[in-house]
């Protein structure tokens, strides 16, 4: 089984890249046009058993580290942004369970049977009406009564909620807990209802299918992830989100610039001997793409190195303000670089990029990456960094 797992892993990124070009890219335009879930991408990933990439090997998964997961999400996003985003969000939820629930028999069984054997997909409900985008505060509270547990939540935005096999939900620890005293609770299919309360007719990331929803779940206390969300957020949800998102935004920008490069090469071929005028703009854009890629990869490698050597010490570091600042800076940098690069690709390509039906179209890429700065608002993140910088001495 272990040999199987490691051979699975060796080509995890390559196999995902094949799915990106052969499946995800083919359907990306109609996923976008119809704002529908990229079901073909996920059927292919499930079939190739790639949805358990983030599950530790001890539970039968591929045990991929942050760098590998980032490369996987970026590869998929090059074919279809929404597919890349859904995969990244799924890995984030899996990592929260693997890194904070693995001492509990309930979550051990869930990792092995649901995530590995059945290749199930997990959605996330952190947003809530009334908390205004602040993931670190909740209004709803989990209610535990003996052997029974229940939770109701009015969420503003739930990606692929209707297409997932489980929901991982933030809430207050108890009815009398403070807003910031939160826990994560896992609800597998059959233990909840999700009633759509809004629409998802957006500029981009349309295939993530993320309308508002009223969640109502019930189950057993064992479904509450051990520990507090304050820790799982700092040690896992924030680093996985900001690094994997940055990776997939890089993937989208890579595809947009790839289209610009193909356009420039075409012009060069038509007139050998003269460098097309927009080739210099392309050269400049690739400088920024390299910076963007190196930024997330450096954070991913740092995360992998520290969690591999001493996970307890790593958790201390991940809980520090210095690390929180690093994650905020990465997220702000990449979410702002991605639309800039799509804009540059559009300028290089010109009208063929502006049209929606040419091989050089970059409108979808551009619209998709406009979500990056809003998905946990950069203004909010900058505010948190500004506050930390009042006490942090060396950045």
């Amino acid at each position: 089984m272990n040999r199987h797992a490691s051979s699975d892993r060796a080509d995890l990124v390559a196999r995902t890249a094949t799915i990106a070009t052969e499946v995800a890219a083919r359907h990306a335009n109609d996923v976008d046009r119809d704002a529908r879930f990229p079901s073909e991408s996920f059927a292919a990933l499930r079939e190739a058993r790639l949805l358990s990439a983030a599950v530790p090997r001890g539970f039968g998964g591929q045990g991929a580290g942050m760098l590998e997961l980032g490369n996987q999400c970026a590869a998929l996003a090059q074919g279809c942004s929404s597919s890349g985003m859904v995969l990244a969000m799924h890995h984030i939820q899996v990592a929260c369970i693997a890194r904070h629930g693995s001492d509990s028999p309930y979550f051990q069984k869930y990792l092995r049977e649901n995530l590995v054997e059945r290749q199930e997909l997990i959605a996330s409900i952190t947003s809530e009406n009334g908390t205004f985008g602040d993931t670190r505060s909740s209004i709803c509270a989990v209610e535990v009564d003996g052997d029974a547990m229940k939770l109701d939540k009015d969420a503003t935005t739930v990606s692929y909620g209707a297409h997932a096999d489980a929901q991982l939900v933030t809430c207050r620890r108890a009815a009398d807990a403070a807003n910031s005293d939160q826990v994560l609770v896992l609800f597998p299919k059959g233990s909840y209802t999700l009633e759509q309360t809004g629409t998802w007719d957006t500029l981009g990331m349309r295939g993530t299918c993320s309308p508002g929803a009223r969640f109502s779940g019930h189950g057993k206390p064992e479904q509450v992830v051990p520990g507090s969300f304050a820790d799982s957020s700092a040690e896992t949800m924030v680093p996985y989100s900001h690094i994997l998102w940055s990776a997939l935004w890089t993937g989208i920008a890579t595809d947009a610039l790839g289209r610009a490069a193909a356009c420039v090469r075409g012009a060069a071929r038509r007139k050998p001997g003269s460098v097309p005028p927009n080739a210099a703009d392309l050269a400049r854009a690739y400088v920024d793409l390299q910076t963007m890629r190196n930024n997330w990869q450096a954070c991913a490698m740092e995360f992998d190195a520290m969690t591999a050597t001493d996970d307890a010490a790593a958790r201390e570091t991940l809980g520090s303000m210095n690390w929180a600042l690093k994650m905020n800076q990465l997220k702000m940098a990449c979410s702002e670089a991605a639309p800039r690069l799509c804009h540059q690709a559009l300028q290089i390509i010109g009208i063929l990029g502006y049209k929606n039906d040419t091989p050089f179209s970059v409108g979808r890429h551009y619209r998709d990456v406009l979500s990056a700065a809003l998905m946990v608002s950069n203004g909010r993140i900058a505010g948190k960094s500004a506050s930390m910088l009042l006490v942090v001495k060396e950045v």
Binding site: R136, S137, R173, A177, A178, N179, S180, D181, S228, A230, D231, A234, E316, G319, S320, M321, N322, K384, S387, M388, L390, V391, V392, K393, E394
Partner: protein, 83 residues
């Protein structure tokens, strides 16, 4: 000691706790009492001012400020070092 009463006064003013500081014992979890990370920064700033110390970056983590006792030990270690 005596630092605990100064710390309590600072928490009362800047901690934005959901509970009355006087009802908390020294080991009570301040985050469970409602202190957010934003409020904790204000508490840190007030502590640095009150005790004339600077928290080194490696102390800027949740556990250093999780209870009145934890804050007192951090403050003690810094004032002892500068004495």
């Amino acid at each position: 000691m005596g630092n605990e009463s100064k710390i309590r006064a600072i928490l009362k003013e800047h901690g934005r706790l959901a509970k009355d500081v006087d009802t908390l014992d020294d080991n009570a979890d301040l985050y469970q009492a409602g202190m957010t990370s934003h409020a904790s920064v204000n508490v840190m700033l007030a502590l640095e001012g009150e005790f004339d110390v600077e928290f080194p970056d490696e102390m800027l983590k949740r556990s250093s400020f999780e209870s009145i006792a934890a804050i007192a030990s951090v403050v003690d270690s810094l004032t002892a070092a500068s004495a």
